[in-house]
Symmetry: C2
Subunit: 303 residues, 2 copies
Amino acid sequence: MELGIVGLGKMGAGMARRLARAGVRVVCYDQSDAAREAIAREKNIECVENLAALCAKLVGERVLLVMLPAGEAVEATIRDLLPLVSSGDTIVDGGNSYYRDSKRRALALSQQGLRYIDAGVSGGVHGEAHGYCLMLGGTPKSIEIFEPFARLLAPGAERGWLHCGPSGAGHFAKMIHNGVEYGMMQALAEGFALIAARPELDIDAARLAETWRHGSVVRSWLLDLCTTILQENETLEGVAPVVADSGEGRWTALESIELGVPAPVITLALMGRFSSQGRSDYARRLLALMRTGFGGHPFTKSG
Amino acid sequence: MELGIVGLGKMGAGMARRLARAGVRVVCYDQSDAAREAIAREKNIECVENLAALCAKLVGERVLLVMLPAGEAVEATIRDLLPLVSSGDTIVDGGNSYYRDSKRRALALSQQGLRYIDAGVSGGVHGEAHGYCLMLGGTPKSIEIFEPFARLLAPGAERGWLHCGPSGAGHFAKMIHNGVEYGMMQALAEGFALIAARPELDIDAARLAETWRHGSVVRSWLLDLCTTILQENETLEGVAPVVADSGEGRWTALESIELGVPAPVITLALMGRFSSQGRSDYARRLLALMRTGFGGHPFTKSG
């Protein structure tokens, strides 16, 4: 078994290592010398310096796993791969691409005799050890080709990976997964914020989180994460209150609007992230000035 | 070891059985004959027909676990117990009482030489088999008295139960737990609603939920529940879209407002439940008529 991987970020490198440990020959490329060097001397892993070398090192019907940030990086890589691959090869996009881009790419590649899988991957940095949850979209034949790798990447051969449906279904499922994640983590964060705001009750948030892990209705992997975070830094010192967003929350909210199916909590969690990035500041300034305008209330001057 | 339990609903009966199985002598009272009869002949369990008999059957410093709906039922039972108990006895309120009521009750009972524990209990109907998550508020001495029972009720002797803080802290922690639960379950429900709204992607929601259980970031007990629900009834046929609320979500939202600490997602999940109960209908009718008013848009007549 052999597989090419393009992109050796946290996810790509972890997947390369998990497959290599299972005996797969993994040929890797990353544009960063440092990323290649970090993994180059590990067993069953070989690093190459460009996409042409990657394709040259793989024999027969190639399977190429692209682990890059959604958008231009994926688009450019697929464009660059096109002259290097052959009919029957399979390209797997394991990034968080928009499912509509994936549908488009699958169609375009199929017209050149290439197979395309959109693979939603969840599991973060813990996936290397415990396995990744894989949501796959594509034709039955393309999934059949990728299945031996999916069985090794997932937490178990028969669990944690799914052929969700046709092209786009994998990234759609991953998009919804991340939308749900936005809402769930926001709910947990709000709860712990309220606990922190009642110091007179003397509740040790880290111990409470640990307790909730056993037998409670809110037990979850996100709660496990909160437990570790609060054990290490209960006051969250040194961390700015800014939460990034990377696309999938926005797409989930757009989906809700386009379908006319309410997703208020997911959308509000997304809006909360925008606010955390300072994107409510204009509205807030205007609100402050309106209060000054109608009531003479002084506004706070900025520094 | 012996303990009295007042209230043999799903939670009270489950806790009685779990303790009895562990060898505790459990004396139970419930106002319902049927509830008493359902459990009366089980090993280590004895049912009595009133609170006086319950107190008479227990010797030494009594521990009485009250498993009743928050509010008037708890208030009346404590009032009725007062002439029957003795200084040094411990009353444990295992219901979902408002933490401010619990603070008040603890103070009132302490003035009569009685101990009081507010015990937040999570775990639902699965707690009997797997253990309950217990959040306890009260004095160190009262917790010391209850600890042997807590160790048996929890999923493990050393895990899943916590002395959160002084009186009120247990029910406060449970209130926040339930608030978080509102938000987390709303996020999951919204996600599956969006999946159901894209039938063309042919995603089997039950299989996707099962897949997410392994390695994904959203894995959780609530997701486990969704998996079972979707496996049994993917179209949710026969279930009206009405979601009850039982107090703790409201109190969490009030807490957020009183503290001035935002809990937007939890509050919105609560508002969504109100809407599901038809409590948005007045506003929605008025909205429909405003559209008619300014734009001549016809409104839908009610049946």
